[in-house]
């Protein structure tokens, strides 16, 4: 019995150490944070935030940032913003995509369908860089997973614009951001209070927009997060129950031997 307790103790100790230590390394800079709906063992995305986040993305970010791994159908899928299929179709129809070649060998444009990927603002990286003073606005599909600090980092960055400390000279088209590596960023301050008008009547403050769009990006980076949390909880409960059963079987079997397990 003592062995088992030691073992379990060791197991959880290593788990906690690994988890916390690595997290601590990630969070070395004091980042701003929000009460993210998707954090924790039962975390789910706030549907309203996802829908508002999509609105912020299309109205503000999408003019420079692509999201090449998302399709319009994803907007109606379970675990996402969960627009109705009609809404998602209507959203898609707002965009023009190039299709083809048709029977005459010509490319043509048509309104986007659910199966189309999100329309990208630029034809390629070079064009994106040329239009943004040489800086490539990164594709945002997996951005939350591609930055250390994750959602908190992006949230901080969006709200981290400040006047530069006196004595700093910034070039044209360069802005000062507290959380950016090296503090210089080519993206202008993205949000102002009331920049978008939310359909559900939520007040579009700067913080609210940042929070909504980061929730949307977190979903885009991890579209199966809700399912993962749900299956994980069940899998672990199942494992714990079967472990207890196996433990008692083991005790029974080993009771025939003069030895402790």
């Amino acid at each position: 019995m003592k062995n088992i307790i030691k073992l379990i103790y060791f197991m959880f100790l290593s788990l906690i150490l690994l988890n916390n230590n690595l997290l601590a390394v990630e969070k070395k800079k004091e980042l701003l944070t929000s009460d993210w709906s998707f954090k924790g063992y039962f975390g789910k995305f706030d549907r309203g935030a996802l829908q508002r986040g999509y609105q912020v993305y299309t109205e503000v970010c999408a003019s420079c940032h692509s999201m090449k791994y998302l399709s319009y159908r994803n907007l109606a899928e379970k675990g996402g913003p969960e627009f109705s299929e009609e809404q998602a179709k209507a959203i898609a129809a707002n965009f023009e995509v190039t299709d083809g070649p048709n029977d005459d060998g010509d490319m043509f444009t048509r309104p986007a369908k659910l199966s189309d990927k999100f329309v990208q603002p630029y034809r390629n990286v070079k064009e994106a860089m040329a239009s943004n003073g040489g800086a490539y606005p990164p594709d945002m599909s997996v951005l939350v997973k591609a930055r250390s600090g994750g959602a908190d980092y992006i949230y901080s960055l969006l709200l981290g614009y400040e006047d530069p400390p006196s004595g700093t000279n910034l070039d044209d088209g360069v802005y000062y951001n507290k959380y950016m590596y090296g503090n210089n960023i080519k993206m202008p301050k993205p949000f102002m209070d009331g920049q978008v008008e939310y359909n559900d009547g939520t007040e579009a403050t700067e913080q609210q927009m940042a929070k909504d769009v980061v929730t949307f990006l977190a979903w885009s980076a991890e579209p199966h997060l809700e399912e993962r949390h749900k299956i994980g909880f069940r899998a672990i409960i199942y494992l714990i129950v079967i472990t207890i059963l196996v433990y008692f079987s083991m005790k029974k079997i080993w009771s025939r031997v003069e030895s402790e397990v």
Binding site: N3, L7, I8, M11, S14, L15, L18, N19, L22, L23, Y41, Y69, N74, P138, S141, V142, K145, A146, R147, S148, G150, Y181, A221, P223, H224, R228, H229, I231, G232, F233, A235, I236, L239, I240, I242, T243, V246, Y247, S249, M250, I253, W254, V257, E258, S259, E260, V261
Partner: protein, 419 residues
């Protein structure tokens, strides 16, 4: 071994067994006499077998959806994560499975170091194990390259560049490895091919590892040779099977926590940025399980000598059975070795930590001291200690001191701890 004259009960079984003695083999595996005092550190062999099979199964499924081409690899991984049914689960099990595999293998190796399992007559088991470990590192390294993220690309660049340190042939060898003049499309394709091949070589070596184990039988916590079968042993089935299963389930709980609740914590966020040969990441770090060797590599100022030191640090383990001169196996009866063992564990953890830090200033100094100590432990301390150390008296068998009591009362008290 005790079952060479096993006779199947059915006629068909006998007919088959005379032609291919698989039933004799399974009877041997069932009856295989195992020391009854094995503690939970001995359950990691079974756990490792489970890890290997899990990696192979998830890997084969991932291989059905993955595209081994530099232009499509990153996209195909995102396709697996988003559109393949339960693709996210399979990929996270595979990616975290690699880390869990290494966690288990390190525990397995350090168990062998503590209880002297590498000593005569088990040297061949140990050497096969070291080859498996080397192949595991190669497989894991190439697997990390496949998603073609920034760390994949730059990790591959740093590691393959090591071979350029070889005098005269260095450049030729690296170009041959890359299939070009830099890490590029051909490199990714061949890494995928090898990443698919090596696990099956590992599987073959695992079979040899177990075969070699079944010749002398298991070592045990007090490290004495046992009469087999005897009252000191239990048949493998059901005693060890159920114990291994219990330990495996505990291990799976930890595994599941990683897969379902922090699947990316052991990876690097830069690997979700597609590989870009024009942009170098601020810090290029390998996966955690390679960090101690990375620290050894960087702590030597000369590139060639650094590579030599890194490979030597693994080769030293291969010849360990002849470096450790002590006749006593278990650290329980070696009071000084026991202390040094824990210092070595600490030393390796320090090396791992230094491998993750930038190689400069104090970090570099500490890494150098830790590297030096690593070699001193194996090359100087162990050979001398084996001859000089005053060891404690070793009991004649597992059962007697407990049942009959020992003439040395201190011994009896000690016994309770390792049975």
């Amino acid at each position: 071994m005790s079952n060479h004259n096993y006779v199947p009960s059915s006629k068909l079984g006998k007919w088959f067994n005379d032609r291919l003695p698989l039933l004799t083999l399974s009877a041997h595996l069932k009856e295989y006499p195992t020391p009854k005092n094995l503690n939970y550190w001995w359950t990691f062999g079974g756990i490792l077998t489970f890890c290997l099979i899990t990696q192979i199964i998830t890997g084969v499924v991932l291989g059905m959806h993955y595209v081994a081409h530099a232009d499509f690899a990153f996209d195909s991984v995102e396709h697996i994560m988003r559109d393949v049914n339960y693709g996210w689960l399979i990929r996270y099990v595979h990616a975290n499975g690699a880390s869990m595999f290494f966690l288990a293998v390190y525990i397995h190796i350090f168990r062998a170091l503590y209880y002297g399992s590498y000593k005569s007559p088990r040297e061949v088991i140990w050497i096969i194990g070291m080859i498996i470990y080397l192949l595991m590192m190669m497989t894991a390294f190439m697997g990390y390259v496949l998603p073609w993220g920034q760390m994949s690309f730059w990790g591959a660049t740093v590691i393959t560049n090591l071979f350029s340190a070889i005098p005269f042939f260095g450049e030729g060898i690296t170009n041959w490895l890359w299939g070009g003049y830099a890490v590029d499309k051909p490199t990714l394709t061949r890494f995928f091919s090898l990443h698919y091949l090596l696990p099956f070589l590992i599987l073959g070596l695992v079979i040899l590892h177990i075969w070699a184990l079944h010749v002398p039988g298991n070592n045990n916590p007090i490290g004495i040779e046992l009469k087999k079968p005897s009252k000191d042993t239990v048949p493998f089935h059901p005693y060890i099977v159920i114990k291994d299963l219990f330990a495996l389930l505990l291990f799976l709980i930890v595994f599941a926590f990683f897969v379902f609740y922090s699947p990316n914590i052991l990876g690097h966020s830069d690997n979700y940025i597609e590989a870009n040969p024009m942009v170098t990441p601020a810090h290029i770090v390998p996966e955690w399980y390679l960090l101690p060797f990375y620290a050894i590599l960087r702590s030597v100022p000369d590139k060639l000598l650094g590579v030599v030191a890194m490979f030597a640090s693994i080769f030293i383990l291969v010849v360990l059975p002849w470096l450790d001169t002590s006749k006593i196996r278990s650290a329980i009866f070696r009071p000084i070795y026991k202390q040094l063992y824990w210092i070595l564990v600490l030393d390796v953890i320090i090396l791992g930590y230094m491998g993750a830090m930038p190689a400069e200033g104090t970090y570099l100094l500490i890494a150098r001291a830790a590297t030096a100590y690593y070699f001193i432990h194996f090359l100087i301390i162990l050979p001398i200690l084996g001859k000089k150390e005053k060891t404690l008296p070793v009991p004649p068998n597992i059962t007697d001191p407990v049942l009959g009591g020992s003439s040395n009362p201190q011994m009896v008290k000690k016994k309770e701890k390792y049975i």
